[in-house]
């Protein structure tokens, strides 16, 4: 089993024969989590879901004070309404996702039939389209509201991304996301890993970067900067623009695979979205 994965990984990465063994996703995840445990020994693992606040006490106080009455609650309410409102054909999102949409733990997942990663936001829109409704925009507004409602009802579920071993394309998607995380991009020449791993917690101008562990657990997010809700892929795009790289399309294969990888790295952590961030 393991040798198959190793074999595939070799092929995918285009490596010639090497003496060092190539790690599979599970080894990757352990090494990833170990890295943060060593870097931030005072942060309990289940606190990384709180983003930068898991390592920045001064900001944490302000965040907790925002959480007393978080602005995303209005979005959860709006999402609840949308979730239960009837489509023209009399059905609703509840027909796809159950009475309260508490299905966060199922996403992102590998869809073998189509050979692609399916995120929760994609699934929401596909449910609409299957019922002859127009899909929502992908970065903010209604998609974020519905996602906020479903995530809220899913709080406490554990991240449990599976890379099925019977489909080599799933591992390829994971590896694609992994490569994305570790490659430098943009004129500023930063990889995700540069800011959110090797210098996580350091100041970039006036901002402290958050640890990459827990990155995908708390979405959608009400960002003070946006003064509204946004999806994870909206944030990915913002990050890329910051380093002067062209952002990829929300829900395209690049960001979906990146979400697949980042979520896998957070396996075992709790989903606690929606959240408030600076």
């Amino acid at each position: 089993m393991k040798t198959i994965i190793q074999h595939l990984a070799f092929g995918l990465l285009g490596l010639s024969v090497s003496v060092t063994a190539v790690a599979g996703p599970e080894e990757d995840r352990k090494a990833f989590q170990n890295f943060y445990e060593n870097r931030f020994p005072d942060t309990p693992v289940n606190d990384y879901q709180n983003g930068v606040y898991s390592i920045l006490p001064s900001a944490r106080e302000q965040w907790q004070s925002i959480e007393e009455f978080p602005p995303y609650e209005l979005s959860v309410e709006a999402g609840e309404k949308l979730f239960h409102s009837k489509f023209a054909n009399g059905k609703s999102l509840a027909d796809c996702f159950g009475s309260n949409g508490a299905v966060r733990e199922k996403y992102p997942h590998w869809d073998k039939a189509r050979g692609m990663v399916v995120t929760m936001e994609r699934a929401i829109n596909e449910c609409r389209e299957a019922n002859a409704e127009k899909p929502y925009g992908l970065k903010k507004g209604k998609i974020a509201d519905v996602s906020a409602y479903m995530s809220f009802n899913s709080r406490g579920q554990k991240v449990n991304v599976v890379i099925p071993s019977d489909d080599s394309r799933a591992l390829a998607a994971y590896e694609d996301g992994k490569e994305h995380f570790y490659t430098k991009r943009g004129q500023l020449n930063f990889a995700c890993a540069d800011c959110h791993m090797y210098t996580a917690g350091a100041l970039y101008r006036a901002d402290t970067t958050s640890p990459g562990l827990g990155h995908a657990t708390s979405w959608p997010v009400f960002r003070s900067k946006w003064q509204e809700m946004g999806t994870l892929h909206r944030r990915f795009g913002g990050c890329h623009k910051n380093i002067r790289a062209n952002p990829f399309k929300a829900q395209g294969s690049e960001y979906s695979n990146l979400e697949y990888f980042v979520s896998y790295m957070s396996n075992g952590l709790e989903f606690n979205g929606p959240a408030a961030r600076k």
């Binding site: 007393e68 009455f69 602005p71 609650e73 209005l74 003064q227």
Partner: protein, 101 residues
């Protein structure tokens, strides 16, 4: 639906009230995409009543954040009917009521 959300909880004779009011709170300093100034538009007054008695009132400037948050505490009990109302610079008003838990 009201623009006002209220959470009110009693503990040891003290009712803690938290409220969030959906409002743009335009400062008059912001510009829209075409570069035109967006006129100021903000909540000026907020009044809170418990069973019809005023327990808190407040006046805002434009420097209060968008979707204003307000928290206070008064001497009261479970079952109090708490009503919060606002009036903005355009003369609009809104109210909401909740039962203290």
């Amino acid at each position: 639906m009201s623009t006002i959300r209220i959470k009110a909880k009693e503990r040891n004779g003290l009712v803690s009230v938290k409220s969030l009011m959906k409002h743009p709170m335009e400062t008059g300093l912001r510009k829209d995409k075409s570069g035109k100034k967006i006129p100021e538009h903000w909540i000026q007054d907020v009044v809170a009543e418990a069973n019809g008695n005023r327990v808190f009132s407040v006046a805002f400037n434009t420097s209060i954040s968008k979707d204003p948050y307000l928290a206070f505490a008064y001497t009261g009990k479970k079952g109090d009917v708490l009503r919060i109302s606002w009036k903005d610079s355009a003369g609009k008003t809104d109210s909401a009521e909740t039962m203290v838990k």
